[in-house]
Amino acid sequence: MSQRRAVLKTIALRKVYRTGSLDVPALQGIDMEIKAGEFVSIMGPSGCGKTTLLQILGGLSAPTSGQVFIDGVDLASVSDAVRTRMRCLKIGFVFQRFNLLSTLTVQANIEIARQIYGGEPVTRDEVGDLLEIVHLRHKLDYKPLELSVGEQQRVAIARALVNKPAMILADEPTGNLDSRNSEQVLRLLSDLNREKQQTIVMITHNPEAAEMGNRVIEMLDGQIRSHGTVAELVEEPERARSQAR
């Protein structure tokens, strides 16, 4: 693992939201590194800053200070246009609310991600192959609202894969799913990581979901509280915390 290249690295990442005259720190110096092929779960209670972290890692917003490198490019120092392009080229998003375009079919939802990416349009067969991964090849021509919530999330995963991203960022991907669908989606992400060495960063507040990752980063009050495998966090919490410091 240590010889793999770093897909993502943050140095002293800080984010402060200004509410009126009040500064609210959301991230207070995050240093982390994620290597290619890792499946990292970021855990923590609500308000600990994990969604803010994911937004910055995904180039959806800029940090107040610090650096965030995606494949060697510091997203904090580039223009909004470059950050947008990096998002398109390097990152596949999976959201809690699926965020499929309701007016488009499943196929078109996947196609549009390639349209935005540019280059060769994705063929129907290629879309079918992607949907095969999430076991939904037969739902190519359905609209999102004709699918179950679990199926919608699986389509979102297929969409995230269409441009072969360096990293998938999943924000509470099971947050809107029942236990059966949650299990399916988590297994799918785990399979993608294991079989295709897809780098995945998943935010969750669910310890069981976090266990799917091969590393867990625990956040509290905008800082990394501890990191390590789930077993390390459970069995040697003090050691994990000292590593984080």
Binding site: G58, T84, S102
Partner: protein
Amino acid sequence: MANLPLANIFNRKTRTTVGILAVALGVALVLVLVGLAHGSLDETADRIKNVGADIIFQAPGSSPFLAINSGVVDVRLGARLLDVPGVAAAAPVLTGRLTSLKGKQKLVMIFGVDEMTYNQVGNGIEIVEGRGLEEPADLIVDTVLAAADGIKVGDVLPIMNRDFTVVGICKAGAGVRIFMGITDMQTATAQPGKASLFFLKVGDDSTVAEAAAALEARFEGYQITALEGFSEAMKENALGLTEFISALSLFAAVISYLVILLAMYTTIIERTREIGILKALGASKMFIIRLVMVESFLICVMGVVAGFVISVLGRSAILTFFPTLTVDLIPRWFMMSAILGISGGLLGALYPAYRAAKLDPVEALNFE
């Protein structure tokens, strides 16, 4: 390929329909009203040309719009006109106009003519039913007006505070829709011995140009117009026509602009979250702008096509319900109105497109 603009158009039917109808309204307004303006002018000019005369002779400073000329020349001038080389016949006409007929408001032009000389200068009044002007208070109405207002031979029509009897129905298309004796018109308008103009016929031994030159030499300052160029002369002198058409065009463009602006602005608000999704997927500002503009363009194109259809249907309706009107749907104006509708719509889409492109992806994704 995924076609989000088309998908949005078909999935937001009410918004799309309103947008299409608004653009269509602007396009149809321009086409029909410009068509009405041109049609009325052309039809009037054609009818004057169809009198069959070669030259119109008018007092200095007269308008080519014959209906607005009062009796400013003496009928006795006719004898002097016949002395001019090339002039074979001269028919004095005193013009008048009605603003209502049979209780209905309408503008109708009337010629007070001496039927004998009038028939000499051209095709004359071709009676299809009844007889010509023989007695005082006789009236001839053309077939179009007779059909439109249900006028029959024998009807009595109060005109200019006097009862006239319809004694004949004449073929439409030459001169005006109502003829009366010039003496009746002089009496009714208190202009005894006067005419508004003379229609002149050029003899076989001369050309129109030669006769016109001779007239100009003899009657310096008088207005001498060959009927050949009468239509153009009318349009050139149609005060405010260009301004009217410009105002209409601007009006159509502004309608398209405002409606598309409102429709697309509302759409952007409705679709904030969708735009957030696209941005999260890496869509550039230009991609979002293009998306909004393409959608607006498609709505405008459909609006223009609908506008063309409405114009054609509107023309048929106008001709059915107002048979005395003429609407010329001019091919050049189809292109002009299309450009106006589309450019107005695209301008209207610019601001919503810009706003959409500027949306913060995080805020947009959290939009409920």
